[in-house]
């Protein structure tokens, strides 16, 4: 977590929600555009691309804070896991999902490799722990077996 992100982790409450209306200063697109810049005119002029309409890790972490403040810790954790996945490319994302489905991984090590990739290449530490936990449970429940 960068120092910048730590700063935003203090003090956000449900009163700051919705961020787009109450705290537009905190909402910046992946290419550093303000919400107010994401206009039809800008789209027509080619000044903004689909990339600018993606959610950012920072926005997800801010939403995690709000969820936590609203008494929804598990939702907050999902947003934190999601924040880690923003930069994971679609292909890797779908491959990891596929590997987590029953019988796709033929051994525990395949899942552990996927966890390592998430941790080392994308800094997705929470998600990596999560996949490692799955590997343990799948082994105990005999999921590394032939299904089709």
């Amino acid at each position: 977590m960068t120092q910048d992100e730590t700063k935003f982790r203090t003090g956000l409450s449900v009163a700051d929600y919705p961020l787009a209306e109450k705290r537009p200063d905190l909402v910046v697109s992946a290419r550093q555009k303000d919400l107010a810049d994401l206009t039809l005119e800008a789209v027509e002029a080619g000044a903004v691309a689909l990339e600018d309409f993606r959610i950012t890790p920072r926005a997800l972490r801010l939403q995690a804070e709000i969820a936590e403040a609203a008494g929804r810790p598990t939702l907050a954790k999902n947003f934190e896991r999601a924040a880690e996945l923003v930069e994971v490319p679609q292909g890797t994302l779908l491959q990891t999902y596929e590997l987590l489905r029953p019988g796709r991984a033929k051994s525990k090590s395949e899942l552990l490799d996927a966890a390592r990739l998430l941790r080392e290449r994308y800094g997705a530490a929470i998600m990596a722990d999560f996949v490692e936990q799955a590997a343990e449970v799948y082994e105990r429940r005999g999921l590394f077996t032939y299904r089709f």
Partner: protein, 763 residues
């Protein structure tokens, strides 16, 4: 009775009548807990329990940690708050059940408590509530204050023009979310583009989902066409989960993946899916669903669609099945999840069962009353017919009005609907043309605009759509391309509307629990929390919203009645003339029968409820009287408009002592001097089904009574129509016009009538 077959049949034929009712198409099942047919009490439902050792769950709901299946592990690890659980689990279930229906206990206290409760405990608590208590607790516990609704937009041809038109009308009806799916899987991209454009017509903010294969659905979302997903199914037994080809971890990964793409997501669960899939473990519907719901909260999804989704029809075959569906909705909101409350797959062929099922949730309010109201006709619903469909839309609108309950929908006018459909079809056609995808003809477009369903269109067929869809996918067309095309072709408003939905994902505000978009603002459980704390609190209809619910199509008012009557006035002027010739005095002739007409008869009102001109009614009576040797005389009463008193007053003036009372709406009575007012000789109370021949026979009978004989009373046969529903609004308005012309003690007026057209004979 003379039919030999009937005589020999040893059966009360009422059972044969019942056999023919739509209800009997439903098949019901016996309760059989060992085989999974139990709503609340499964053969192997565990007693609630929780043992924590060294900060870890050692035993939960009767299962030791070493024997946990994947679902147990996930719930123990990610749902249970172990600091809270020891206290929460020791509270008696009966006490918690009372807290759920006690408006003095805040919702937030109960949602916090739920973090420490196991599935078996949650199920045990809600099982103690009656149906009305479940509905009441639901209204208190649901997450967002303002209710909403979700609609299906699909058609049997995957026709994009019709999807656009139907999406636009669904938006106008007020659906917060619309959901499409395909007859042919590869048409997903076309469906997505078409609905996205259609939903941008009129206003912005309707969230949109394209239910398709997991990976493709995510790709369509990433291209910006869709804004939510809900086909992430979970199950309450490990084997069912595996046959669903997932695990709690794979689904939780998917949940995070959707959030990472800025797409709202909820899970799907619901009673009886495990039973359908053959892995119920002899556990009850409710207990298995409690596991699903704890799992969903553990995964960190913001919401669920439950209440029996595909399993609703099966759950409803069991005793208490429908109560169970509400109970599982309650557990969902108690766990602080957004809840799209089923009322989706139609659970019965009986319209009474369908209406009864939705009512508790409708009056309780819900984040999304239906997790798929068929906004299109049944045969166009590619998910399967819903509880409510295009056919029953107005029934739902009237239920909202009856109960002053906000089901999220609003009536639309005919011209508005037509204009929106035209606009949507034109906008989509412009996009298809601009992006060089297709060029629909004017005939195709026109056929769609006015079509109620795809049987009536001459538009794209599934194969045409596949070509369009594969082109969209292959060329990587995304939502910004569509927005630019709309803007280039002059659909700037639609371009702005669509862009506004895409822009939602930048801040992610709509990822929070129970988020919908209303009037351009995100409304969720965070900024619109359900704060119900007794009468006068929680969601209440605003004056404006109440007015919207009341404004259904084609309602009567006094001016409408007078306007309609006025259109008959001119015709009646050509048929009859009434001439008042002074106060009416008692007559002498023994065969004289007085017809006492009501105050507005022929003056402000000209037609009976059955649609007969009043001149014709009067003519039939006069002819009947004359035919049996009576002597008719017409008197207008001005002191009363009541049938009985009209008749009795007429009888008092008649030389024979027999009078006929006749109201303008056609209600008629034969009365006799000296009788009690409401103890008449004969009465036609069902004016809407009374024919001229009946009036003639009534006249004949009056003359027969005058001779001192006893005729066969005239019986107007009824087919059991709900006359009150059909006519009482009109009756009350008409009657008020009559009574407004009465004056206390006003004398009866002698009327001379002349029938003016050939065929009428006043003699």
């Amino acid at each position: 009775m003379s039919d030999p077959d009937h005589q020999s049949a040893n059966r009360w034929r009422r059972f044969a009548d019942w056999d023919e009712r739509p209800l009997r198409l439903d098949r019901f099942a016996v309760e059989d807990p060992k085989n999974g047919f139990a709503a609340f009490k499964g053969a192997k439902d565990p007693a609630p329990s929780l043992i924590i050792e060294n900060g870890c769950v050692a035993r939960m709901d009767g299962v030791a940690a070493a024997d946990f299946d994947m679902i147990d592990v996930f719930i123990a690890e990610h749902h249970l708050d172990l600091d809270l659980a020891p206290e929460a689990m020791t509270m008696p279930s009966a006490e918690i059940a009372r807290m759920l229906v006690d408006f003095n206990i805040p919702r937030t206290e109960l949602t916090r408590l739920a973090h420490g409760l196991t599935p078996a405990k949650l199920a045990e608590v809600v099982a103690q509530l009656s149906s009305i208590e479940i509905a009441y607790a639901f209204s208190k516990m649901r997450a967002r204050k303002t209710p909403g609704n979700q609609g299906h937009v699909t058609n049997a041809k995957d026709d994009p023009l019709q999807l656009a038109a139907d999406a636009a009308t669904a938006v106008a009806f007020g659906f917060d979310e619309i959901e499409t799916t395909m007859r042919v899987a590869r048409n997903a991209w076309s469906n997505a583009l078409a609905c996205a454009v259609g939903a941008a017509v009129g206003r912005w903010g309707t969230l949109f989902q394209c239910a398709s294969e997991e990976a493709e659905e995510l790709q369509i979302g990433m291209a910006g066409f869709t804004s939510y997903a809900e086909t992430v199914s979970v199950y309450g037994t490990e084997k069912a989960f595996m046959d669903g080809d997932d695990t709690p971890w794979s689904k939780a990964f998917l949940a995070a993946a959707y959030a990472s793409r800025g797409i709202k997501m909820r899970c799907t669960s619901g009673a009886a899916s495990e039973l359908l899939m053959g892995f119920h473990e002899a556990k009850s519907l409710l207990y298995l669903e409690a596991r699903c719901l704890c799992l969903q909260r553990a995964m960190g999804v913001q919401g669920t669609q439950n209440g029996g989704i595909d399993g609703a029809p099966l759950a409803s075959t069991m005793p208490g099945g429908v109560r169970e569906l509400m109970a599982e909705n309650l557990i969902a909101v108690w766990l602080d999840l957004e809840c799209a409350t089923g009322n989706d797959a139609r659970h019965s062929e009986s319209e009474i069962r369908v209406g009864a099922k939705i009512l508790p949730i409708l009056i309780a309010g819900s984040d999304l009353i239906c997790s798929g109201f068929g906004s299109i006709l049944k045969y166009d619903n590619s998910f399967n017919p819903s509880s409510f469909n295009g056919e029953e839309m107005e029934d739902f609108l009237v239920l909202q009005r009856d109960f002053e309950a906000d089901g999220g929908l609003t009536s639309i006018g005919e011209s508005e609907a037509l204009a929106l459909r035209r606009r949507a079809v034109d906008a989509l056609s412009a996009v298809l043309d601009d992006l060089n995808l297709s060029q629909p003809t004017e005939a195709m477009k026109t056929s769609v605009v006015t079509a109620s369903g795809s049987n009536e269109t001459a538009s794209y067929l599934p194969r045409d759509v596949s070509l369009i869809s594969e082109e969209i996918k292959a060329r990587g067309i995304n939502v910004l391309d569509v927005i630019r095309a709309l803007a280039r072709r002059g659909y700037r408003e639609e371009a702005e509307n669509l862009l506004n939905v895409v822009r939602l994902r930048v801040s992610g505000d709509y990822l929070q629990t129970s988020a919908v978009i209303r009037r351009g603002h995100v409304l969720s459980a965070v900024n619109d929390p359900n704060d119900y704390a007794g009468p006068g609190t929680g969601y209440r209809l605003s004056a404006e919203r109440r007015h919207e619910l009341a404004a259904i199509r084609d309602v009567l008012d006094r001016e409408e009645v007078l306007r309609t009557e006025a259109t008959f006035a001119r015709d009646e002027e050509r048929r009859i003339r009434y001439k008042a010739i002074g106060h009416a005095e008692p007559g002498r002739p023994e065969n004289e029968i007085v017809i006492g007409i009501s105050p507005a008869f022929g003056l402000k009102l000209y037609r009976s409820l059955a649609g007969h001109p009043l001149s014709a009614v009067l003519h039939a009576l006069v002819q009947g009287i004359s035919a049996k040797g009576g002597r008719p005389r017409i008197v207008r009463m001005r002191h009363t408009a009541d049938t009985s008193f009209l008749g009795l007053s007429a009888a008092g003036l008649a030389g024979s002592g027999i009078g006929i009372g006749l109201q303008a709406k056609g209600t008629a009575v034969i009365h006799q001097a000296g009788r009690l007012p409401h103890h008449n000789l004969e009465l036609f109370s069902n004016a809407p089904i009374t024919r001229l021949a009946h009036y003639r026979r009534l006249g004949e009978n009056a003359a027969t009574y005058a001779r001192g004989d006893m005729p066969e009373p005239v019986v107007v046969p009824t087919g059991g129509e709900a006359m009150g529903a059909r006519y009482h609004a009109q009756v009350a308005l008409i009657y008020a016009i009559e009574t407004s012309l009465t004056a206390e003690g006003a004398k009866p007026e002698e009327i001379e009538i002349a029938f003016l057209e050939a065929g009428h004979d006043s003699r």
